[in-house]
Amino acid sequence: MVRRRLLDLSINNSTLREVSLSESAASAADRVLDCAGMSCPLPVLKTAQAIKDLAPGQVLELLATDPGVEPDMRAWTRRTGNELLSVSKTDEVFHVLIRRVK
């Protein structure tokens, strides 16, 4: 899958990556934020920064290896009014899908 390859490539790149809608499934993210290898609180700080670049309704996919990322992103989305769509784990990397609400 094209999108799968994009995510794999992004593991070694800490910058935001655009994923074009034509290449991704309907549920896929508008942007990918790669925080693999970073420890707390960087995934939270970078997510808070990255979500501001999205329009309401768009989806951010956070990639992270910090073991606290799931409870942290549950708390962060609840407090900031954004929506946690899903958390999954593939090969030690958490994939967190967050929809910007407001």
Binding site: P41, V44, A48, D72, R79
Partner: protein, 128 residues
């Protein structure tokens, strides 16, 4: 000096340890940064030995892991960059033979009444 009305949640951190205990220097800044990223309004009040961590001649020389990690400046600027405000009081400056000019820019001086007022109005006060 008061909390603004806009933020739904307010946390006041209190930092009492100084440069003699560098292992304790960074965590309050970590937590404060994360709180700011959660859209909380956040202040850190430095008292007892805490103001020594804000010395402009110190923040590049110490860090929580000594020479093996980021210097204190990194943690301070991460927090202030997210809007965390840094407070000291005059007696604590006196205790450490410091003046406001010895500290990094942007630190605000408050007194005991202000501290108590901020603490009473905060949703949480966390002391280190």
């Amino acid at each position: 000096m008061t909390w603004t009305k806009e933020s739904p949640t307010k946390i006041l951190y209190v930092h009492t340890h100084g440069i003699d205990d560098p292992g304790r220097c960074a965590t309050p800044f970590f937590l404060a940064s994360a709180a700011a990223a959660m859209e909380f309004e956040v202040m850190i009040y430095f008292t007892m030995f805490g103001p020594t961590l804000l010395r402009r001649d110190v923040i590049d020389k110490i860090g929580p892991k000594g020479d093996r990690g980021q210097p204190l400046r990194h943690f301070i600027e991460q927090a202030t960059g997210l809007g965390v405000r840094l407070l000291v009081c005059q007696p604590s400056l006196d205790l450490n033979d410091l003046s406001l000019d010895d500290l990094i820019d942007g630190v605000e001086v408050i007194g005991a009444a202000t501290f108590n007022d901020l603490a009473a109005a905060a949703d949480a006060v966390v002391s280190f």
